[in-house]
């Protein structure tokens, strides 16, 4: 199967080239069809590679430049383990959904749109599959450039343009930090292949160079993953991008950032830092928790639906980072399950927003008050999507939440779980509140708590509603069943275990050694601990309760409201002030975050 490894990247790229070359020659429909075929082909091959990689890490050396002379890697390899192949499958699958959806959503937009989507998808697949750290950077940049253009799609308004600039500048700074980290590792090891860098570092105590390289790479990737305080660009970029682009941004682009952290840690830094893993964990868990709570609170303050969902994405990225940061198999599997369910469900919620925009010319919670009553099906889909994200036992993202909780317990940490429960509850409460206001007409039409936002002009033509609903519903159903898909949890945990096994990875990549296929995990719904069930129910209760408070705040007794205003008012105002929308502030926060993370690691790891 190894020969197929480049195809998830190559097919969309060549489809993009054909689309551009034939832009003025080919009939419209044929061009669209090439886009869909390119996306579908990439998805199909990603799936095939995923299935093959579960038996054996798939490996190919570009140009046939296999390692020689004492196992020195000369060429660039794609090395697909199940985790990377899984992310590639998620990425190409969501690109396919997005292309199909925009086929009827943005039909009048330039062909450029499809082309950029394809390049975006190909780049994400390349990032997920590659085994070379500089090649990671190349795909990361291609992904970025395509994404900046997609974000600034609506050039006639200031908001989208500013969002796109904030996005482009923040992520470009992140990319330079990553490149500096790569240069440092190259200076130390003279290698760019991940396995070889890790191999060269193993057995050496970490020094300044290694610690700073870790800081630069991790912080650079965390910018893409929208982890606080590196997260500020994300809501801006989402607020302005068309719904099918948001699907990709929230569903998989941020996941790429977390995959970058995971991949670099387990193939490179684990070699040098294994003894001090505890301190690496402390910093990343703290960032994750902070992000989860901050994102949830900010989500609750939004009335612009896409911005609200974007902050909820930030919250979930925080939860997933906790899973990755716990550095064990169970939690990493949990983070993967969570991100899979989140990508599908959050994607379907964004597509719901797209339908609202087409139908009612707006996606402002207050302006849409009660209007959704004429679309009950959409309301039900919206509610189910929100429920799936909350972590109600055995629905949607529950499995991921549960595995992370259990991983934390196994690590002897027991204060993380309640905080994650609160974060999941609060961010879902925001979605429930918005849904109840739009689709049920509950609550008042005015709410001074919520931030004012620029409006978005609707797409310029009539859309085919059945097609939009079909894509949205497909993502929703797939997302909801993640927790009960038999065998999925076990297989993902196995994949997480493989991603953590640096020795086997080095053996496979540098020495080409074929390892015996791992035993097939049982095909059964993964059972979870009682604690996890309780946390899931707790999160759901918080979500519903807080949503009601948000809607019917005025019915609370006067004294409670005054108390709330005095205790919560100032911190919330400060939070709003920090999310200023000014790119200089964003880069300043990135610098602060990097300096603090690096400084703490410098003290702890040396």
């Amino acid at each position: 199967m190894s020969w197929a490894l480049p195809l998830p990247v190559v097919i969309p790229l060549i489809a993009a080239a054909v689309c551009t070359a034939g832009d003025h020659v080919l009939p419209r429909r044929l061009g669209d069809a090439i886009g869909v075929v390119g996306a579908a082909g990439a998805f199909a091959f990603s799936l095939v590679i995923l299935l093959a990689s579960e038996k054996q890490t798939q490996l190919t050396w570009f140009g046939g430049w296999k390692p020689r002379h004492h196992h020195v890697a000369i060429g660039v390899a794609f090395a697909a383990d199940p985790l990377g192949a899984g992310v590639a499958t998620l990425a190409t699958g969501l690109v396919l959904a997005s292309v199909l959806y925009s086929w009827s959503f943005l039909r009048d937009a330039a062909r450029a749109y499809d082309t950029l989507m394809l390049l975006f998808g190909g780049a994400m697949a390349g990032f997920a599959l590659t085994g070379d750290i500089f090649n990671m950077f190349v795909w990361f940049e291609l992904m970025g450039v395509a994404a900046y253009a997609l974000a600034g799609f609506q050039v006639a308004e200031v908001g989208p343009l500013q969002g796109a600039i904030n996005f482009a500048v923040s992520n470009t700074v992140g990319a330079y930090m990553i490149l500096m980290g790569i240069a440092l590792l190259y200076a130390r090891t003279g290698a760019l292949n991940l396995a070889q860098i890790g191999h060269a570092l193993s057995g050496h105590r970490p020094d300044g160079l290694v610690i700073v390289a870790l800081t630069l790479l991790v912080c650079g990737f965390l910018i893409k993953a929208a982890i606080a305080p590196f997260h500020l660009w994300l809501a801006d970029a989402h607020a302005v991008a068309p719904a099918p682009v948001c699907l990709l941004f929230s569903g998989v682009m941020v996941v790429i950032g977390l995959l970058g952290v995971t991949r670099c840690y387990w193939t490179v830094f684990d070699a040098s830092l294994a003894a001090q893993a505890h301190d690496v964990r402390a910093v990343l868990v703290a960032l994750g928790i902070f992000t989860a709570l901050l994102g949830a609170v900010m989500a609750f303050l939004q009335r612009h639906l896409k911005r609200l969902l974007a902050y909820s994405t930030i919250s979930h990225m925080g939860i997933a980072l906790v899973g990755i940061a716990l550095l064990d198999e169970k939690s990493l599997g949990g983070a993967s399950d969570l991100l899979l369910a989140h990508g599908l469900l959050k994607g379907s919620l964004f597509l719901c927003c797209g339908i609202l925009l087409v139908r009612y010319d707006g996606i402002d919670e207050l302006q849409l008050h009660g209007k959704g009553r004429s679309l009950p099906v959409l309301g039900i889909m919206f509610g189910l999507g929100a429920l799936g994200l909350t972590g109600l036992p055995y629905v949607g993202s529950y499995l991921g939440h549960a595995q992370i909780d259990e991983g934390a317990t196994a690590n002897g940490i027991d204060w993380v779980q309640p905080l994650l429960m609160i974060a999941a509850g609060v961010s879902s409460a925001a979605i429930f509140r918005a849904g109840a206001r739009v689709f049920l007409g509950w609550g008042p039409r005015e709410d001074p708590l919520l931030s004012a936002e620029p409006s978005e002009s609707p797409p310029e033509r009539t859309a085919s509603m059945p097609a939009l609903f079909a894509v949205t519903a497909a993502l929703l159903v797939l997302g909801l069943v993640v927790s009960v898909a038999p065998g999925l949890g076990q297989r993902v945990e196995q994949a997480a275990g493989r991603a953590r096994d640096r020795i086997a990875y080095v053996d496979r990549v540098l020495r080409g050694r074929e390892l015996p296929a791992p035993p097939r995990p049982p095909v059964a719904v993964e059972s979870t601990a009682t604690d996890s069930v309780l946390y899931g129910i707790g999160a759901t209760a918080i979500a519903f309760g807080l949503a009601l408070v948000g809607l019917f705040r005025r019915r609370l007794p006067e004294i409670v409201r005054t108390a709330l205003r005095f205790t919560l008012g100032p911190p919330l105002a400060a939070l709003r002030l920090a999310h200023s929308g000014i790119v200089g502030d964003y880069v300043a926060w990135i610098t602060v975050g990097t300096a603090v993370v690096g400084g703490v690691w410098a003290l702890l790891l040396r």
Binding site: E141, V145, V158, Q162, A168, T172, V173, L301, V583, T591
Partner: protein
């Protein structure tokens, strides 16, 4: 002399970052990004330098002559292309911003706060 090239690379990076944060003009900000990026060229090429080494081009040079590392140069070439594209994109965005908002001072555009 042995640390100077790296010190210059760090200095250029810091200078560029300072420019990005304090910029009052989007076009200026874009150029500051290229300054920050040029620090990665300086770092990479300094890492691959070999004392008394010539360029890694063997036209009319005996094979086995000491030469500097070609890999960092290939990486830098890619890096330069990336910088051109990012600049072009950000300037295009800046032009559109100026058209819509009438200003290129990032501090004056506050569509996205909260």
């Amino acid at each position: 002399m042995s640390f100077l090239p790296y010190a210059v690379a760090a200095w250029v990076c810091i200078v560029g970052l300072y420019g990005i944060v304090t910029s009052r003009h989007l076009i200026h900000l874009a150029l500051c990004l290229t300054v920050m990026q040029s620090s990665t060229y300086l770092l990479l090429l300094a890492i691959g330098y070999v004392k008394h080494g010539g360029p890694p081009i063997y036209k009319g040079v005996k094979l086995g002559t000491t030469s500097v590392d070609p890999v960092v140069q290939a990486l830098t070439l890619t890096d330069i292309v990336v910088s051109v594209t990012v600049i072009a994109l950000i300037l295009a965005l800046a032009l559109d911003v100026h058209k819509q908002a009438g200003t290129v001072d990032p501090d004056e555009i506050r569509e996205m706060s909260g």
